[in-house]
């Protein structure tokens, strides 16, 4: 109906290769950007921004990280939480070692450390694959978690074992620490996530991204066609861990304010895996949909009893929430293994051919 590319002719290679070739997509993106950067900061409440929008964006970024590895490069990973932890702890160390450097630069740099660790734990992927690899990523998860507890240097030997976010400013506006408002923190996170998503979109459709997909689809065939598995797999681990690391740093510095090891435990690795599954493997838009779904659903479920006037324990809603998410995962795997992103695509396809059931060619 509204979504139709009829009459939009591509007259140059640049237009043909554009990230969003269809006008409606560009308008849609513009609307989303205006919503994100203008309307939400202006009209939404601090509470909404602090408890829904910031975590949503942080998790979406982590989901992009995992999706690069699992959805695009086909290497199943269960260690996302730990890689986020590496980002968070290295960002914390960087802020104590270099207090004068801008915090945003430090957050972006902290991803490099988690990329290095990611490459190290990605090394087994050269020899093993599939489920065996998934289990070796558990080694990363538990080993790194142990490091976060035992290596006191990582949290500056403080007694609580937690990392506390110091006060930092950008153009004299506080963006981290206790006095930073949720809106400023939100704007910083949204800006970083937008830029990183753009980078990811371009990397994924470029040479490196296509080599990842070839490895995913059939690694031996890809190798025969001249893709080097060593570079392809390790670069996928590096990119993925970079995104997870930045997401981890953002999570602690922009959202939580302080963090202990529990924040990076295996349950969070699973949480992000669920976001990727429900959102759609191999889709960037899916990462955002999955993150929104998994993050907002529990909040909605928690809200339902009070709306209905029922008196239900908080723990009970938590259990029901677990059940619903579990059922949804199974449901999506059975009905639509490509997740919400695929549903969205089908909807667009329907709009294109409306009012006919299918396109005539």
């Amino acid at each position: 109906m509204l979504y139709r590319e009829a009459g939009q002719f591509k007259t140059s290679y640049a237009a043909d290769q554009a990230l969003l070739p269809i006008v409606q997509d560009r308008i849609g993106l513009l609307v989303i950007l205006v919503l994100t950067f203008v309307l939400i900061p202006m009209f939404a409440s601090e509470f909404f921004i602090g408890t829904i929008m910031i975590p949503f964006l942080v998790f979406a970024l982590a989901a992009i990280g995992l999706n690069i590895l699992t959805g695009y490069a086909g290497q199943l990973s269960l260690g996302t939480g730990a890689f986020m932890g590496v980002g968070a702890y290295s960002c914390y160390k960087l802020t104590t070692l270099f207090p004068d450097i801008n915090i945003i630069i430090l957050i972006l740099c902290s991803g490099i450390f988690s990329a290095l660790i990611g490459v190290f734990f990605g090394l087994p992927s050269l020899r093993i694959k599939g489920l065996y690899l998934a289990i070796t990523t558990l080694a990363a998860q538990f080993f790194l978690e142990w490091c976060f507890i035992r290596i006191a240097w990582l949290y500056n030997y403080n007694d609580s074992g937690a990392i506390e976010v110091p006060q930092r400013t950008l153009f004299d506006v506080a963006i981290t620490g206790a006095s930073a408002t949720a809106t400023t923190r939100y704007l910083v996170v949204a800006g970083l996530v937008a830029v990183l998503t753009l980078v990811a979109a371009n990397v994924l459709r470029g040479r490196i991204g296509r080599s990842w997909m070839m490895i995913r689809d059939m690694d031996i065939a890809a190798e025969l066609m001249g893709i080097r598995p060593l570079y392809a797999k390790l670069s996928a681990f590096a990119f993925s861990s970079y995104y997870c690391g930045v997401a981890g740093a953002l999570m602690v510095f922009m959202w939580l304010g302080s963090a202990e090891v529990e924040v990076f435990d295996i349950n969070h690795s699973f949480l992000i895996l669920f976001m990727v599954i429900i959102g759609g493997m191999g889709s960037l838009a899916g990462c955002f949909m999955g993150a929104a779904f998994i993050w907002v659903l529990p909040i909605v479920i928690r809200g339902i009893p009070s709306v209905l006037g029922l008196d239900v324990l908080a723990a009970t809603t938590q259990h029901i929430n677990n059940i619903i998410i579990g059922v949804l995962i199974i449901f999506f795997l059975i009905v639509e293994p490509h997740g919400l992103a695929r549903l969205w695509q089908i909807a667009k396809e329907k709009l294109r051919t409306w009012p006919f059931p299918y396109a005539s060619t």
């Binding site: 065996y132 142990w146 035992r150 795997l333």
Partner: protein, 318 residues
């Protein structure tokens, strides 16, 4: 030099100097290993027959044990509670086969793995909703399991054997033997092996895959219940067990996904290895190395032998 000494010489001197302590450590590790083996056994059963990597095995152990304890709390006699929990596991097996596996037939194994992760969440939520989240003591005495301990004097020292640990080892042995007989002597067992070898060939000689899958999920449900009882008797029944059960994954890597002897040998290796490492080398790293030793051992092992100790050789074709 100091470091090399503390890695390569000091632990062995300590082992020889206090052999009774060494035996105690090995025994503790052995018992932990038996329990890892039991969980891994549940994984292997399902993986062999349906190619599903059942991530939910850990939570099935908790679920079965919780069902047993909660039923007994409601006043059901112990033997009836065991039967009823078996019934619950059977219903679960049939349900999983009907609602999940049958619809996901012929999917990629990563998809199946994720489906079982979803199943884990469902079971966890249901378990906590029905039985409550707080830890519960296992009804050891009501089930007729031995308690107490025996001291064994040896090398001028004593080694303490908990009776429940001995019982666990014996029961595990009996169960493995029963499974071996079941697989080689009975009609269903042979059908299971046929399915494990080749799904299509098994179908073509008239074996019902759906039936076999339900049976094999029930079999690993039984294994889960036994594991849950043993584990619960050693500590208590709680959802924390689920994380410990993840260690069985490392056991699987060591033993190979498709091998029952592999699951047992792998479990014992990891159980004994991690105890020895924790006691004699753990202080070098700070304590708590038990949390990751199994995985790191498995990881290093995989680099040299990707198919595990007894796994089938992985042959790849384009």
């Amino acid at each position: 030099m100091e470091l090399l000494h503390s890695i390569f010489i000091a632990p062995f001197i300590e082992m020889v100097a206090y052999p009774d302590f060494l035996i105690q450590v090995v025994w503790e590790g052995f018992v932990a290993g038996v329990l890892y083996s039991l969980i891994a056994l549940g994984f292997v059963l399902i993986y062999k027959a349906s190619g599903v990597f059942n991530f939910a095995q850990g939570i099935m152990v908790v679920f079965a044990a919780l069902a047993l304890v909660s039923l007994h709390e409601m006043g059901v006699p112990a033997w009836l509670a065991v039967l009823l929990s078996l019934g619950i596991m059977a219903v679960l097996a049939i349900g999983v086969e009907r609602l999940v596996l049958r619809k996901l037939v012929n999917q990629h194994e990563a998809i199946l793995l994720m489906a079982t992760i979803g199943l884990t969440l469902v079971l966890k939520g249901t378990g906590e909703l029905i039985f409550g989240g707080e830890p519960k003591p296992m009804i050891t005495e009501e089930l007729g399991l031995p308690t107490g301990s025996t001291d064994w004097e040896v090398f001028d020292g004593i080694v303490i054997f908990q009776h429940i640990d001995i019982a666990a080892a014996v029961i595990a042995l009996l169960m493995v033997m029963a499974l071996a007989v079941f697989f080689s002597k009975t009609r269903i067992g042979r059908a299971l092996r046929a399915v494990a070898d080749d799904h299509q060939a098994a179908l073509s000689v008239g074996i019902s895959l759906n039936q076999i899958w339900a049976i094999v999920w029930f079999a690993s449900g039984i294994v889960a219940l036994v594991t849950g009882i043993m584990w619960g008797a050693r500590s208590e029944v709680s959802f924390a067990l689920e994380i410990i059960a993840l260690k069985a994954l490392a056991v699987l890597i060591l033993g190979g996904f498709t091998s029952i002897p592999g699951a047992i040998v792998g479990g014992l290796m990891i159980g004994i290895g991690e105890k020895l490492f924790e006691i004699y080398w753990g202080t070098l790293f700070g304590s708590g190395v038990e949390a990751w030793f199994a995985y790191v051992l498995a990881l290093i092992f995989l680099l040299f032998r990707p198919q595990g100790l007894f796994g089938e050789r992985i042959i790849e074709r384009v």
